[in-house]
């Protein structure tokens, strides 16, 4: 029998906590106070009625939500939401401490892979981004990345979904212009999944909808969310803020306000339908007080997401944060630092859905090359997140004794056996000696990533979607465009 040390606790992965359990409770109580004292504005008639009937104090569209109701709804919201891929395989269980990475949506500009020039984004950029992310293993889900600005503005969101679903099998998060287009997207998703029942059983799509800070819940935002619940499709309902402009400038104030908005969403969701799959969190970016830019890659965002992740774990509700999104306009050293820090933090905190990976220029410009570079940053962070294995085999006392003073380990069996898991290796990062690096063309990491991206674009396509389904998707898009034009 193996003799075990007494009083032994093993820590398999690093344990990162940003604040104490008591401080999380403090934020929770402050949030309840905001909901009960200040309340929220709700512009969706059905939601307003539900809140009224549940015991909220409603004054026109101003709703004050009592603490007990918030806490009751928190208990009803599912702790676990399983998201499938396009094939119905349940690949992405959103549970406490399981981290998944993906990009964001709707970038107006793209740095062209061929010309290197920044230009307006189009539908093909959505297709290419999805193909690249379909290939790169550290992307767990996709969003549209670019905006299909060259399609009809009335249904450009539908075109984006079409481009996504035909170019990757990975789970996806979508945005929608309004409830009409959301319903069209749900029909498209049902078609792809093989019917509404299949979609409900194994949803491969999540909606990203938003309240507007401070404390406004729009008719469109809530309407889109409610439509998804009818189909059993999970919803990210989270604000995107600018600290110092739409929230208090303090980090704690930002978190309290955003949490109040998210919890109001949880209440509306659970009143609409018990157990409705809702995901909380949001984009907690400060405003640059010099340039007014949205600071996606700043230290504050990462600090905020750490606490917001802890909050969601305290509630037992899956969360949505950001990382790998930067303010640098190009994939340079600044971008690497901004992206790397955020990704590592998200991994170590155990955030669930980490989106916006690969955003440049504060969420306005995309680059396929940068998407590819981020794949290695995520790989690196995941590697660190796995932690340090400590046991007899890895402490290697026997091997140390065998080699003795003055020997070497490079030819030892132990090295051969463990080096792959004990030393992280990357294809994109440079680590060769100067002369060799020169011989190989003096390529920067960006150069190499660009080459790989071109290779992926030239050679990789995802599993094809059935021709009849593709036709069906285009019919729904055409039909919706007609409906919208007649309005």
């Amino acid at each position: 029998m193996r003799k075990i040390r007494s009083n032994s606790i093993e820590q398999t992965t690093p344990l990162l906590r940003w604040v104490s359990e008591g401080q999380i409770e403090e934020i929770h109580f402050a949030t309840l106070e905001v909901l009960e004292r200040t309340g929220v504005k709700v512009d969706h008639p059905e939601a307003l009625q539900l809140l009224k009937d549940a015991g909220c104090i409603v004054n026109e569209n101003r709703v004050r939500i009592p603490s007990w109701l918030v806490e009751e709804c928190l208990r009803l919201a599912p702790r676990k939401i399983v998201v499938a891929n396009r094939k119905g395989q349940r690949v992405m269980p959103l549970e406490k401490n399981r981290t998944y990475f993906g990009t964001g949506s709707d970038l107006p500009y793209t740095i062209d892979l061929e010309t290197g020039k920044r230009r307006r984004s189009g539908k093909r950029d959505v297709e290419l981004a999805c193909r690249v992310m379909d290939y790169l293993p550290n992307y767990d889900f996709v969003m549209s990345y670019a905006i299909a600005a060259d399609t009809s503005p009335k249904v450009s969101d539908l075109h984006q979904l079409e481009a996504m679903v035909t170019n990757t099998t990975k789970p996806m998060i979508v945005t929608a212009h309004d409830e009409i287009n959301m319903r069209a997207q749900l029909e498209m998703a049902a078609l792809v999944a093989g019917g509404k029942e299949e979609l409900r059983k194994n949803p491969f799509m999540i909606l990203y909808s938003e309240p507007i800070s401070p404390l406004v819940h729009t008719n469109d935002g809530v309407g889109k969310m409610f439509a998804c619940f009818e189909y059993g499709v999970p919803v990210v309902y989270t604000p995107g803020v600018l600290s110092g402009a739409t929230t208090p400038v303090t980090k704690a104030g930002t978190i309290v306000l955003m949490n109040a908005e998210a919890l109001a969403g949880v209440v509306m969701a659970q009143l609409k339908q018990k157990g409705a799959p809702i995901i909380i969190g949001g984009g907690a970016t400060p405003m640059d007080m010099k340039t007014t830019a949205t600071l996606y890659g700043s230290p504050e965002t990462m600090m905020n997401y750490a606490i917001m992740t802890q909050l969601s774990q305290f509630y037992g509700i899956p969360n949505f944060t950001e990382a790998g999104c930067v303010n640098s306009p190009i994939p340079d050293a600044q971008a690497g630092m901004e992206a790397g820090n955020g990704i590592l933090m998200a991994q170590l905190m155990g955030a669930n859905l980490v989106h916006d990976v690969g955003y440049l220029e504060g969420g306005k410009t995309g680059s396929l090359t940068f998407l590819t570079m981020c794949n290695d940053y995520m790989d690196n962070a995941r590697y660190m997140g796995r932690g340090t294995r400590i046991d007899e085999e890895t402490m290697a006392v026997d091997v140390i004794d065998e080699v003795g003073p003055g020997g070497n380990y490079v030819s030892h069996e132990h090295t051969f056996k463990h080096f792959r898991e004990e030393i992280w290796s990357s294809k994109q990062f440079n680590s060769s000696f100067w002369e060799i690096w020169e011989e190989q063309g003096s390529k920067s990491m960006e150069d190499k990533a660009e080459e790989l991206t071109k290779h992926i674009v030239a050679t990789h396509t995802s599993e094809l979607l059935d021709g009849a389904i593709r036709e069906g998707l285009n019919e729904i898009i055409a039909e919706t465009e007609k409906v919208k034009s007649n309005k």
């Binding site: 107006p108 503005p153 009335k154 007014t292």
Partner: protein
């Protein structure tokens, strides 16, 4: 230091209580109200504009300076005939139809107000007809359209067309801005100008209204 310099200094420092008190004192001492504005309050604000552009001052500081200026102006307004009130111009501003982004537009509004413009802010989700109506009602020298979405920026073109249809296009300048907007888009739809941020929007309006 003269009272005027001190007043300008109080504005620059965003000391609105101080600015209020000193403005009152200067009124009581019989200074000319217009001079108090031009050589005190506005003089301070002009320095703020330059410093902000140079990156030496931050948005919240500019806001406090603007507040200091307007507390002074509030006291002076009753003493000046409406037609003599100095203004850089009148501008109607709104975020276009279908678009709910308002922070950028609000910043443009606040910056322009602090530079002495009279602004009528229509809010968000404003359709061409509402812009036309506002132009008829307020007769501004310019209208400012903000759009953050590729899907809503086309409404800028519709607004310009609507102004043409009503025969108002020649009486009002059109300036546009927002994340997906560019100079080339402005040229394409026949706008009079594009600005990338709030400070340049202010400069642009000064230039084209002059």
């Amino acid at each position: 230091m003269s009272d005027f310099t001190s007043l300008a200094e109080l504005v620059i420092n965003g000391n609105y209580n101080g600015a209020k008190d000193l403005t009152q004192k200067m009124i009581d001492n019989g200074n000319d109200p217009l001079e108090i504005i031009n050589q005190g309050l506005m003089a301070g604000m002009n320095v703020v504009g330059v410093r902000f552009k140079a990156g030496d001052m931050y948005v919240p500081e500019v806001m406090m300076s603007a507040k200091a200026m307007s507390t002074g102006i509030e006291l002076l307004k009753p003493l000046i005939a409406d037609k003599d009130m100095p203004t850089a111009g009148k501008v109607v501003i709104g975020t276009v139809k279908g678009d709910l982004h308002d922070i950028g537009k609000k910043l443009v509004v606040m910056m322009m107000e602090s530079a002495g413009f009279e602004i009528i802010d229509l809010g968000v989700d404003i359709d061409p007809a509402a812009f036309v109506k506002a132009v008829k009602e307020h007769s501004p020298q310019a209208i400012g359209l903000s759009a953050l979405l590729t899907t809503t920026m086309l409404s800028m073109k519709d607004t310009i067309e609507a102004l043409k249809e009503e025969g108002l296009r020649d009486s009002v300048k059109v300036v546009i801005g927002g994340a997906p907007i560019s100079q080339s888009f402005a040229d394409e739809i026949g706008a009079d100008g594009y600005a990338a941020d709030a400070a340049s929007a202010t400069e642009l309006c000064r230039r084209i209204i002059a």
